[in-house]
Point group: C2
Chain length 523, copies 2
């Protein structure tokens, strides 16, 4: 084991990536960061922030149980799901399914509390569950925007750009899924180009399509080409993010996709989207109880499809503007509510997806990072293991922003240091340094500082920490314009990870054959 | 008790202020907020975020004790302080004082765990300690800046403007102290104009001078004119913020001021400023141990001057840019370190001042609010009771920013909702709403929503939550330009709180007489 393999607090063992630019980049002062080493994912070294006591948690769980038992959940357009519920002993009346208290919890016992998602580069495998934290880009915006061209519909070129930017960032761990909608590709064929882009331009873990059962299956089939059929049947290599049609409705499109992932032993992420006052109660506790009910039902369905399949307890809380009725993001109520979601997920012993770097701003400005930071900190405080929307989210998820992507990835870097917590050992307590320096002198050149300064502090690549005069003389830039320069440089410097030619050809062939077998559809 | 007096979660009883503009303002859609009611201070309804376990805390405390016993602290230019230490049994050798383990903790037992600071309007009294959270403006910048005029030295007019802005914000609780340096007033007379401005243009609590013993005493004397001599001797009406000259040096200027406040039964805030790697070790745990040692010594000195005098355990952690050696602010290491400071202060049962809305950005941009939000959330998570630098802090505290002041005050508003936590009761759990709405329908018009929507969600006055098209048609503003419009409107709308004419005359007379008794000094 050489020096580069020394385990740092909060950083899992395994391959580590030197930050792009490395030590030489740092010395050149070109805005690259210190020699912190990025890890394939984070192992948190701080506890979760648990804000509610046992009694309150029990009350929320009891209301979730009563919603499930007395009101029920409708499962539309999926007779197999209804069959599963009948077989499990639920009360099925038409499309409406009611559940005895405790029934879903019992079913969920077969779901793993933690699992490995495998990447085509094994050094980039991520653990999802327990103390692990995995950052993935934002997901699902129809628009993209940057400071040069403003807002416009996303294209497959934008999609590839964001895959490349994520791959180039040492502080993201996952390539994500529908980073933006490539609207220049027919709706029924987008998933093929998106999955190919993830596999070709990134060697990290990724997500597949959920918008139709065949798209889910074709996404998984492409993973099989890369990883092998047997491997995929035994290991998770692809995630599918499925949404509840809140309140209390699961649509067949989603449950068919959910079951496709579970059937293939791949992980579904089960996500109610509740805008308080619209798709759920306007009060946080009620919305949380509803989310718990909806998520438990979705997670349990994966276990009925294939016992032991990996599944992620997901959540996406949002509030509402009282003046316009618009959804709001990065606000205090969902942030603090996320802490409760985390407590509830841990009581079910399931991996958690919660919150992200949310904002409703239309620009990469002060509002964007105020809202984003509050939201993102709630994600890491609440114990989320898989944090979708870690980078790029703008305009209430309508836009994927190039500049905010860079700023958010930089915040993800800061959170590596944050989640390392406060290390307390003889070196960090530095009693010898006090003895060396004494009173009234500075620590700048002392032995302890020289030994520790390189790893002591996070050094942002986006923030300007120069004195005012130097900053002003250099043009007085704001953070957004620095981020603009940075993403262009990152794309210019991007290098594709190596891929076996035969695998690439097989993927291209599969995409072409699958596309050729169906007419273009634009809805 | 009428409806306006109903106690909301996390809001202390007592007078409540309707937000500026009130319900009509809200209806007009002019960017005013919902009918949340501002409180004189916050009573937190969420626990503190405790990140270290007992063993680690004991190790930090043991190192602080060894620093105090083996290395000691120098007390310069204050023979009375040295006398106090001799009398208390410390080991005094010249200026160097060493303390047996446990000695300072024993002395600190007489300091109150919580106290009331009285405002000239009793409805604005604040409690400092326990579960209370008090937001005060930033403190000490030589420059001010706004988007129109850029950066320039602060003047007494700027100072008055910020007092008025703080008074006009329902989300700040305290008028602060040296909000900016009024550099157009002689150094030796500034405190008179600053204290007068706090007393005249605000009716909230405030802070006095600490830059010389006579300035501290004159600040307190002005408070006596307003509150009465006997009242001031029995109650805290003014705070003084004193800094350690880290590492391990207390300067006489500061200890003389500290003792002046304690002697008058007023509260000193005891604050080491440790930039890791310069005034303390580059590792967080060592810097925290040092801060604990330095703060305990300062707090204990107040008790030797006057047993039972109120005192606040203060802290101001900062990190360093590895490239330039500049201080950095709003970074992850001080943020997470603040949680430990909070744990240590509670183990001493002292009120806490920690963190604030720090940033090193030179503009009210994305960097400013990314750093500010991370820093400010650490302040409320760590359990700080008095949060100085809650609004306006820019450029590493070199500039007081008009626009960031408005953005930060808005974040303070959001934190009122955040600190209210997640209320779990029959109303918030909303089981009846689920029964009313059923599956697949929306909650927009249901009885529960109508009853709760007005207080459900924080509604920012600075954020833009409109749809993109509406935002774009209205000019596509960023948060900074909206904040620019807002502070101008707030100053235009400002109304001075009533003041007894005789008291005002007595204050003016005191200021004139005191100024007249000494020549101008500019250093």
């Amino acid at each position: 084991m050489d020096a580069a393999d020394v385990v740092e607090p909060g950083v899992p063992t395994g391959r580590r990536r030197e930050r792009a630019g490395g030590r030489d980049g740092r010395r050149s002062g070109q805005g690259t960061a210190p020699p912190h080493r990025a890890a394939p994912y984070i192992l948190r070294n701080i506890p979760t922030y648990d804000i509610l006591g046992e009694e309150s948690l029990l009350r929320i769980e009891a209301v979730a149980d009563r919603i499930l038992a007395e009101i029920g959940i409708e499962f539309r357009d999926d007779p197999v799901a209804l069959q599963h519920w009948k077989g499990a002993g639920a009360d099925v009346d038409g499309l409406l399914v009611k559940f005895e208290p405790g029934m879903l919890r019992e079913i969920l016992k077969s779901a793993p509390s933690s699992f490995t998602q495998h990447a085509r580069n094994p050094a980039n495998n991520v653990e999802i569950g327990g103390k692990s934290v995995v950052f993935a880009p934002a997901y699902g915006s129809p628009f993209v925007m940057d400071l040069d061209k403003g807002r416009r519909y996303g294209t497959i070129e934008d999609f590839r750009n964001f895959v490349k930017l994520a791959q180039s960032s040492p502080w993201l761990h996952h390539s994500g899924g529908t980073i933006c909608e490539p609207v220049d590709v027919p709706v029924n064929k987008r998933h093929l180009d998106m999955v190919y882009a993830h596999l070709k331009y990134s060697d990290r873990c990724f997500m597949g399509s959920v918008t139709a059962e065949n798209r889910a299956e074709e996404s998984i089939e492409m993973a099989r080409i890369v990883f092998g059929r047997g491997f995929v049947d035994r290991n998770c290599v692809i995630l599918g993010n499925v949404n509840v049609n809140s309140p209390l409705v699961w649509d067949g499109t989603m449950t068919n996709a959910l079951r496709a992932y579970a059937r293939a032993n791949q992980a579904a992420v089960i996500v109610p989207f509740i805008l308080g006052g619209a798709m759920g109660p306007v009060t946080n506790a009620g919305a949380i109880a509803q989310a718990l009910a909806e998520t438990m039902a979705g997670c349990a369905l994966t276990q009925l499809e294939r016992k032991g399949a990996p599944v992620i307890f997901g959540n996406f809380l949002s509030s509402m503007s009282l003046r316009s009725g618009s959804p709001t993001f990065g606000t205090p109520e969902p942030a603090i509510g996320s802490m409760v979601i985390g407590q509830l997920a841990r009581r079910l012993d399931l991996p958690l997806r919660c919150a992200g770097n949310f904002s409703n701003s239309k620009l990469p400005d002060a509002q964007a990072m105020n809202e984003g930071t509050m939201s993102m900190l709630s994600a890491v405080h609440c114990g989320a293991n898989f944090i979708l929307h870690s980078a790029g989210f703008l305009d209430g998820l309508l836009s994927m922003s190039y500049e905010k992507f860079v700023m958010d990835a930089d915040l993800c870097g800061a959170l590596h240091s944050y989640l390392a917590g406060v290390v307390v050992d003889d070196n960090s307590l530095a009693l010898d340094a006090f003895r060396e320096v004494g009173v009234g002198k500075h620590f700048l050149g002392c032995a302890h500082t020289m030994e520790n300064y390189q790893t002591a502090f996070w050094d942002s690549a986006v923030a300007d920490n120069e004195p005012f005069e130097k900053w002003s003389a250099a043009g007085g830039s704001d953070a957004a314009s620095r981020a603009n320069r940075r993403w262009k440089q990152m794309l210019a410097d991007y290098q594709a990870p190596a891929m076996d030619v035969a695998v690439d050809e097989a993927l291209v062939d599969y995409v072409e054959r699958t596309k050729g077998a169906q007419a273009d559809a634009w809805y």
